[in-house]
Structure formats: C-alpha cells, structure tokens
C-alpha cells in the first residue's frame, strides 16, 4: 500500500533516486510539449496556443482521479499523502505576482530548467533571478512573516469546503476540464496560427471525453466518502501487518524518528 515511503519501503537516501527518476520524466514530458521555449509558453496569454492550460488541466484531472481510484482499490492511504495547507492571502498575492513574473520572464520555475538545458540563455537568467528573488524574500522575511501566515486555514480540500463527496468533486472537475478545453480550442482556432496548432481527430477526442466522464461518474457513485476522512495525527500509526517504520507527522517539526540509514526524515514541504 502506498505511499511506499511512508510505509518504510525505502529510506531517505533512496528517496533521492526516486526524486531523480520522477524529475527525469517530469523534464522529459515538459520538453516534449515544447515548454522549453518562452514563446510557446506565453502564447497562452495572447490567446494563440492553449497548450499550457491543456497540459496542466489534463495532468490535474488524471492525477486527482488516479489518486481517488488508487484509494478506492486500497493501493494508497490518502491520509498519509502530504496535503498542502491553505494560507489564502499569501496564495492569492503570490499567485498574482507569479503570473506577472511568468508573462514578464517567459517561464515558470520548472520550465526555466527545461529552457536552460536546451540552450536558452534567457532561461538561465530567469533562474538567476529566481535565486535572487528567494534571497530577497528571506531577507525581508521578518517584515513579511505575519502576511506569510495570514489566512491560514489548515488543510482544506474542495470536498470539505463544498460539503460534496470527493467522487462528485472529481466528476465536476472532469466536466469543467472538458468545458475549458472546448472554449480554449475555439479561441485558439480564432487567434492562433493554424499550422502550429495540434491536430487531433474529433472522434478520438469524443471517445476520450466519454471515458473521462464515465470514470468521473463511477467515482461519484462508488467512492466511499469515509475513506477520504483525514485522520488525526495520532491515528497515523502503521496498521498491523505493514512494515513498521518512521511515519512523518503532518505538523510540528519536532524530532522525527530515524530511518534505517541513520538519516532523519524532515518535514514535507510543498515546493
């Protein structure tokens, strides 16, 4: 049962190899999509090419449905997946500034790596800028700290917020994604360069859309809501029969148990 690391299948040192592997495929698929080129990335903001939106939304839909199916089949314990906490004000302001940085600089953090290794000098300069921006943030942190913690709501997930079952939320997200794709394709047909836009067969798209709605419907009907409940930290002990190992706590960066290699597992962080 996953997450494998939280059940002690491998130690901290080995997790770096997983990181390298995940990163390799991450960088690979981003480059395949052409996301190493700022012109391709920023075309979305001039309504010419919505590849960024399509990739992001599809990845989110696939992964969120995937997580719920894994949980449904008992392959993953969602209570042990690190959920990013909500701090609504810094997230709103940070998102707006990041958007400005995106259209000004041409990249977001990960795509600037892709750009740099494929030979784009502006990608490298963007990375230097990001390091400077992080240092500026850290130096100003005493002034920013109260805002950094403003609007803290803990781990709020959409099903908790809307009082709907996770399966229904998954179905709604799938439907929203299909609506967004439909609008995006209409808009880019109008403003974009038809030679550079992807050509997909309408039949394949309809079949894929049908499968997505079906998968969402199955979750909406069949996903047991109690499986989604967040267990309190004290309940995060390894269940019987599983290998007993260090379990990370959701909060409080206090002393963590040591793993086999003598490394200490430190707290999760989002990004």
């Amino acid at each position: 049962m996953g997450p494998l690391y939280k059940f002690g299948w491998f130690d901290f040192a080995y997790s770096f190899q997983i990181a390298g592997l995940v990163g390799f495929f991450f960088g690979f698929v981003l480059e395949r999509a052409g996301f190493g080129d700022a012109r391709k990335l920023t075309a979305i903001f001039y309504l010419r090419d919505f590849a960024v939106l399509k990739v992001m939304f599809t990845a989110i839909v696939v992964c969120s449905l995937g997580l719920l199916y894994f949980s449904l089949f008992g392959w993953i314990d969602l209570a042990r997946v690190h959920i990013l906490p909500t701090y609504i004000w810094p997230q709103i302001v940070g998102g707006l500034i990041l958007g400005v940085g995106f259209v000004m600089g041409g990249y977001c953090p990960t795509t600037s790596i892709v750009a740099t290794v494929t030979g784009k000098l502006d990608g490298l300069i963007f990375i230097v800028g990001m390091m400077l921006g992080s240092i500026i943030f850290a130096e100003l942190f005493p002034l920013l700290q109260s805002f950094y913690e403003a609007g803290g709501m803990g781990t709020v997930r959409l099903p908790d917020l809307f009082h709907l079952s996770p399966g229904v939320i998954a179905l709604l997200i799938s439907l929203m994604a299909l609506g967004v794709y439909w609008v995006a394709e209409r808009v880019e047909q109008k403003f974009g360069n038809p030679d550079e836009l992807p050509k997909g067969s309408p039949k394949a798209k309809r079949i894929a859309a049908g499968i997505l709605v079906l998968l969402g419907l199955i979750l909406a009907v069949g996903y047991p809501e109690e499986r989604y409940a967040q267990k309190p930290v004290t309940a995060l002990l390894p269940p019987k029969g599983e290998k007993a190992t260090p379990i990370e706590q959701k909060t409080a960066p206090v002393e963590k148990p040591k793993s086999a290699s003598g490394f200490k597992i430190v707290e999760d962080e989002g990004c």
Binding site: Y5, F16, R39, L84, T118, A138, R157
Partner: protein, 169 residues
C-alpha cells in the same frame, strides 16, 4: 530545428501519471522552486554563513544539520534537467538562443527575464510553491488554496499580458 511538439492532451496524461507515481512512492507531489531557493541559500551560506543561519527563513533549509542542497526537490530538479536534455537531444532541439518575439532586442529580453525571475522567486516563496509545487500538486490533491493560487497565476498574467506584448508578438 524540429518544432513539432507532442499533443498537449497526451502530454497532460503522461504528466498526470508521473505525478501519480510521485504520490504513490513518496506521498508527495513534484516541485522545483524550492530547489532554487536552496541553491540561493547555499550560496548565501558560503558568503555569510552566520547571517544566513540566523535568518528565520533561510534557517529552515539548514534543518537536520544537512547542507541545504541535500533535499528531495533538488534531486528532482537535477533529474528534470537531465530528462529535458534527453528529450531535446533526441528531437534535435538543442540550440543556443534567446527566446523572444521578432520585435524584441536581446538585452531588453534578458533584463525582463531577470526581473521576471526575481518576481517569480519571491512569489513562489510567499505562496509556498510554484506552478508545479503548489498549483499542479495541490490541485491534484484537491487542496483549496492551490486551486485559488492557480487561478490567480492566470489572473496576474492575463491582467499584465498587454504590457509585455512587444516582448512576445
């Protein structure tokens, strides 16, 4: 140069599966902005070690007594660089250039890349993540704040895109 990129929906499915693999193995999603913050912290630690370790924000990257570079996300970013390099190599897309619109000068573009990077680095720390670590990962977990964050990225970019049209069009 080969400009034929893969279909974005197919890429999205692959990216979603990569993310799912990360959740299944590690119980966490991907991310990259923290690795730049960590490299910045590492550099600051070389220049002014005491100042850096005393800083309330930098100090969290020294937790556990390890180098700031010994972190999961740093290795993920290294892997991302290798994966992108491999993909660009097999598609014959490695080319030294400055990506910009036809009406844009090189030095102006590089200055804008620098300032855009500074804004992005700052914003990613403020929001506790970037497009991948906060938007992609958090939205897949159905975290409320991450969805708000994602729409705010698009909001901020669309609101100011007109100002930068000469950079790209």
């Amino acid at each position: 140069m080969n400009k034929r990129y893969a279909n974005p929906y197919a890429i999205g499915v692959c990216l979603g599966l990569v993310l799912l693999f990360s959740f299944y193995t590690m119980g966490r999603g991907v991310g990259s902005s923290a690795s730049f913050a960590r490299i910045g912290t590492f550099a600051m630690g070389l220049v002014a070690p005491e100042h850096t370790e005393a800083n309330a924000y930098f100090s969290k990257y020294f937790r556990g007594g390890r180098s700031p570079l010994m972190a999961w996300l740093v290795f993920l970013s290294l892997g991302a660089g290798l994966g992108a390099l491999f993909s660009a190599f097999i598609a014959n897309r490695i080319k030294g250039e400055v990506a910009r619109g036809p009406a844009m000068g090189v030095s102006a573009r590089l200055w804008l890349a620098l300032f855009g990077g500074i804004l992005s680095g700052f914003a990613a720390r403020l929001a506790r993540g970037c497009t991948s670590g906060q938007a992609l990962t958090g939205a897949s977990e159905l975290a409320f704040g991450s969805w708000v964050f994602m729409f705010c990225i698009f909001g901020g970019a669309y609101a100011t895109a007109y100002l930068f049209r000469k950079e790209w069009l």
